[in-house]
């Protein structure tokens, strides 16, 4: 799918994008953020569930999905453990006591920040513009390997990018997974070539 140069460039661009994302998230939350080195895989859709389970574990999770569109098109999933992100309420301007609806709004808000920061960072590196649709709930407290069950993924293979976040001084942690269908890989390849030429 990718030449070695393209693969290196993709990893590099993603790393830089995530660095910027970390900075913007830190600016928003006022806390230091640790991000893992992004893992980039090309997978057959049937293997995505297993890959998620391997990275995240067996505990039940809650997941938010958010579509993005533009030159790059795909879906981002933000996956939370049991505690979700209740403790970030204060940092995001929410009241102390959260009712069910507000807790979910906060979940969407945090997801939007993580997705926007990471994809925005990558888009900026390859000089393209992407738009987002509103986040929506994908699953509430289900096993990781059930997340994508029944999702009709009609693409022969998918680009899979995984990053995990951790706030240094809090227990908050979550995983961000970006999934793009096969045809987007061609778009990325063209963008990577542009990036390599500009070096």
């Amino acid at each position: 799918m990718f030449s070695e140069d393209q693969r290196d460039a993709l990893q590099e661009i993603t790393n830089i994008g995530m660095g910027q994302a970390g900075a913007s998230i830190a600016a928003i939350l006022g806390e230091f953020v640790q991000l893992s080195v992004p893992r980039i895989l090309i997978l057959r859709p049937a293997l995505i569930g297993a890959a998620l389970a391997r990275m995240i574990g067996k505990e039940p999770v809650t997941a938010v999905r958010q579509g993005f569109h533009g030159e790059l098109r795909g879906e981002a999933l933000v996956i939370y453990g049991a505690d979700q992100c209740r403790e970030l309420g204060g940092l995001m301007g929410y009241a102390e006591e959260l009712d069910e609806a507000t807790e979910r709004e906060l979940l969407f808000d945090v997801s939007n920040v993580l997705v926007g920061a990471c994809l925005g960072g990558i888009a900026e590196q390859i000089r393209t513009d992407i738009g987002f649709s509103a986040p929506s709930l994908m699953a509430d407290r289900v096993p990781v390997d059930a997340l994508l069950q029944g999702a009709a993924i009609g693409t022969p293979c998918a680009l899979f990018v995984e990053v995990n976040f951790r706030l240094e001084r809090r227990s908050f942690a979550s995983n961000l997974v970006v999934l793009m269908p096969e045809e987007e890989i061609l778009v990325i390849r063209a963008a990577l070539d542009r990036f390599l030429e500009s070096l």
Partner: protein, 435 residues
């Protein structure tokens, strides 16, 4: 010359008149755009809002939260969202259903767009406010319908369970009723021959006694016989083994009478099983019934189990005490037989409403699930041949049913069983069809 608007003025027109709220603020939250939709629904015309601070114009807005939200758009240079499902509205606007109602205010989903200047910096945020009232009302109706359906489904499930239960009970009672009729017929037919065999056997026993006495008298004078005659008698005595015969004939008759007693008991059980019998109902103290029954079965129990009586406060009930004694005896004997080595039998009594109960619990083997439905069937027994007739529980079931009561069974294989007999304090008169 074309009178069409040029594209810039067309865009201005569309932004102003589109049926979506559109407004923009700068970094100081000063309003920089306020379209017709916002003006109409907020009842604040553009000229009253433009150039003023958003929160001064609308002090009811959730200020801290909204400032955060908009600042994040600047920081991330990216979109923000709210959805009516979590936050019904940003601005309290009247909805489009002043007549038909359904919600208190317009439901809104909002998108916060970063507005990039020519040099790429974000200096304003544009917010679009979409009216989702119709979707929200439809959603609420749908949710109500789903809830109603779920409720109906649960009620149906319950009805089906009840129906299944009733069906099983009906099957059981039909089975018992038809076997009861058969049993009554058979019992009646057997009763007559048993009667005369029994009485004949009694007479025969007496005759035999008499005959033996005569033979003994002859034996006493045998010595006086002439030698030839004595040898002749001796030969016959040898041939029939008179000594053994004299010894054996008594037990033989006794065993036959025991056997007949057992047949009589079985026939009596069969008759009890099929009808109430002639006995009259009377007011009786169940604790006294239990105590007298316990006296009768003391020998069956004392080597097998510790007996514990937990008698509650129960009134006298209208019943046929002799029949209930039979039920209690059955349950107690079964309980003792369920215990392999040594265990505990607990008798509990109590009252609930117009009913009293007598529960016999054992710490025995328990009843395997697959046998649970068969234990009340006539002739069903797990005991060795000759130990039980297989009629005990079905007779008990019949007696209790004719008293207007029921028997509940709970059992845990390996841990024991409990048979709980529920009886009405004043039973309705027996159903004539069952008599």
């Amino acid at each position: 010359m074309s009178t069409h608007l040029d594209s810039g003025r067309l865009a201005d027109f569309v932004v102003d008149r589109i049926e979506v709220g559109i407004f923009a603020v700068d970094r100081a939250f000063t309003v920089t755009l306020w379209n017709h939709f916002m003006a109409t629904h907020s009842r604040h015309p553009a000229e009253a809002v433009l150039g003023r601070n958003l929160f001064e114009c609308f002090p009811e807005l959730p200020r801290g939260w909204l400032e955060h939200k908009i600042r994040n758009v600047y920081t991330l240079r990216n979109y923000g969202f709210t959805s009516w499902e979590q936050r019904p509205f940003l601005f309290r606007f009247d909805h489009n259903r002043p007549m038909t109602g359904g919600v208190d205010a317009m439901r809104q989903s909002c998108t916060f767009l970063p507005v990039r200047d020519a040099d790429g910096t974000v200096s304003q945020v544009c917010v679009t406010v979409f009216d989702y009232t119709d979707a929200a009302v439809a959603h609420a109706e749908l949710a109500r319908t789903v809830q109603a359906l779920e409720g109906e489904k649960a009620a149906q499930r319950k009805l089906i369970d009840e129906l299944e239960n009733a069906h099983n009970q009906l099957l059981q009672s039909e089975k018992l009723a038809s076997i009861g009729q058969l049993a009554a017929g058979v019992a009646h037919e057997i009763n007559n021959p048993i009667g005369f065999v029994n009485s004949n056997l009694g007479t025969l026993d007496r005759y035999l006694g008499d005959l033996l006495r005569v033979i003994e008298a002859y034996q006493g004078v045998e010595a006086a016989l002439p030698p030839a005659a004595r040898a002749q008698v001796e030969a016959v005595k040898q041939a029939v083994d008179l000594g053994y015969l004299q010894e054996d004939v008594g037990p033989l008759v006794k065993e036959s009478r025991d056997g007949l007693d057992r047949v009589t008991r079985i026939v009596q059980d069969l008759k009890d099983f099929s009808r109430m019998g002639a006995a009259d109902r009377q007011w009786a103290d169940l604790h006294r019934c239990l105590d007298s029954t316990l006296n009768v079965v003391a020998n069956e129990i004392k080597y097998k189990a510790e007996l514990e009586r937990q008698y509650g406060d129960i009134p006298d009930i209208r019943c046929v005490p002799s029949q209930l004694n039979q039920v209690f005896m059955n349950l107690l004997v079964n309980a003792a037989q369920a215990i392999a080595d040594r265990g505990r039998i607990t008798i509990t009594t109590g009252r609930r409403g117009d009913e009293v109960f007598v529960a016999v619990r054992d710490s025995g083997a328990g009843i395997p699930d697959e046998l649970r439905t068969r234990i009340f069937d006539p002739f069903f027994t797990t005991k060795p041949v000759g130990t039980g007739t297989g009629l005990g529980l079905s007779v008990s079931h019949g007696i209790v049913q004719r008293h207007g009561g029921r028997i509940e069974v709970s059992s845990q294989p390996g841990a024991g069983s409990e048979f709980r007999v529920w009886l009405p304090i004043e039973a309705p008169d027996a159903d004539p069809a069952a008599a």
